[in-house]
Amino acid sequence: MDFILQGVAQAIVLLASGDWETYSAVFATVQVSGLSMGASLLIGIPLGYLLGYLDFPGKKPLRTVVDTLLSLPTVFIGLVVYAFLSYRGPFGELSLLFTLTGIAIGQTILALPVVISLTATAVESLDRHLRLTLVSLGASPRQIFLTSLWEARLGLLIAAVTATGRVLTEVGISMMVGGNIKWQTRTITTAIALETNKGQFATGIALGLVLLALAFAINVSLSFLRRRG
């Protein structure tokens, strides 16, 4: 029990003293999840909108596929992305393996089904009178798209936060694709895995606290926005 309490105490000292190694992992995490969230929202929201808005043959099976991909294991994504980015793989020349961009690619694949599925649900649950109202007011398809997204903003926010939560806490992709390289691709989660292996609980706990704080901040802002929404 003692060493756990000691770990927490040391963790606070580490954080307060601005331990550069700890913060390097925090910055890497923020950077890579920012990148992957940006990409997955940019790709996922329009796709999710189309999936929720349009009626086409094969829509139901497609939704089932997307919903299945929600539970895609991170190690599997890591494996596939690794294989594609490896120097023997089809994209080996890009030299993206063991880089933050490489991790971001994997995390984008992880977040995309979440964003697409939840966006589609949000768009589907929009009032069915919305479209007629917008058309009757003379809105073009692009304006219908933008207004519908704004009307579904709460649902989109939930999609973004849920996806961020997954991206922030995953370790499989970061470890396999990123390689956990110190000062470069070491993120909070891979650092925790490593520190535990080394028996360095303090650093692990410190990083865990940062992760908790990030998740907490995101959830608080979400409930704040929801109340305002």
């Binding site: 470890m175 956990n180 000062w183 292996n197 080394k198 028996g199």
Partner: protein, 281 residues
């Protein structure tokens, strides 16, 4: 396959160890908990020695293979009875701090510097220190374990022994923070050099059907020898430690029988460990 079984045995040990403690005190009497390094576990040496130990002493050895750092930590936290590790400096500190007693050298294996067949920094044939200096000067990619393991500590001591500043934030110096095999794979991906224990490299070579992207560039340098010791956890610090069993196990390892067994162990047809206990009885 052997390795596979070893893994399962280890997982089983971790999962069921508390059950043994709780339910079967009779069996637990002759059970020894050992913390050791991944190298001894992954190579299959422990698996190979275990039945011989049981036959000679009646002891059933259970072990957790991990980095040397964590293995020592397990000793400190009284989670093991005996340690089999390979980081002499850290071990001596461990003993001086009173966590361990009766440190005895058992055997050594050796490390090799591996790198791309093309040897981009042209260090083949040079002595180790010149080679490291050349890598630094040319900023050739070098992948470090970076996980506080015995191999990592060994690598850090090499820079120190060669009077070089150990690199940290250099862009060519990649600190993987992972096990040996992932580190070798990373070096292959990056076309870089790394320091590996011979056992893992032999496996890597075999995994790649004899045409590995990385080849042994440097070997045999006196700096590259790796000494293993057995240390008993101090029963005064850890009253639950089974020191009598730990002593018995250590005796066997440094004894004639144990030393012979270690020398006879072969991985893919190659000897890995050289027994060198001080006074084999």
């Amino acid at each position: 396959m052997k390795n596979f079984t070893a893994h399962w045995k280890r997982i089983g040990t971790i999962l069921f160890f508390p059950l043994f403690l709780a339910g079967n005190s009779q069996a637990a009497d002759k059970e020894l908990m050992m913390a050791t390094t991944t190298s001894t576990d992954d190579t299959g040496l422990l698996e190979y020695l275990a039945p011989m130990v049981t036959k000679a002493t009646g002891i059933t050895v259970k072990w957790v293979g991990t980095g040397t750092g964590k293995a020592l930590k397990m000793g400190e936290d009284c989670n093991a009875d005996v340690l089999l590790v390979h980081a002499p400096a850290a071990e001596k500190k461990f003993v001086e701090a009173g966590f361990g007693i009766n440190r005895r050298e058992v055997m050594y294996n050796d490390f090799v510097v591996i790198g791309p067949n093309a040897d981009p920094a042209a260090i083949k044939g040079k002595d180790l220190c010149t080679a490291l200096k050349t890598i630094t000067d040319k900023k050739a990619a070098f992948v470090s374990r970076g996980d506080d393991s015995g191999t990592h500590k060994m690598e850090l001591s090499l820079w120190k022994d060669c009077a070089l500043q150990a690199p940290d934030k250099e862009s060519w110096y990649l600190q993987a923070g992972q096990g040996m095999m992932p580190t070798i794979t990373m070096a292959a991906e990056r076309g870089g050099y790394t320091l590996a224990d011979r056992g893992t490299y032999i496996k890597y070579e075999a995994d790649n059907q004899g045409k590995p992207p990385l080849a042994i560039i440097l070997e045999g340098d006196k700096h590259l020898l790796n000494q293993y010791s057995v240390i008993e956890v101090n029963p005064q610090k850890c009253p639950n430690a089974k020191n009598d069993l730990a002593r018995q196990y250590g005796d066997w390892m440094v004894g004639k029988e144990g030393q012979a067994a270690i020398g006879g162990f072969k991985l893919l047809g190659k000897q890995l460990f050289t027994p060198n206990a001080a006074a084999a009885k």
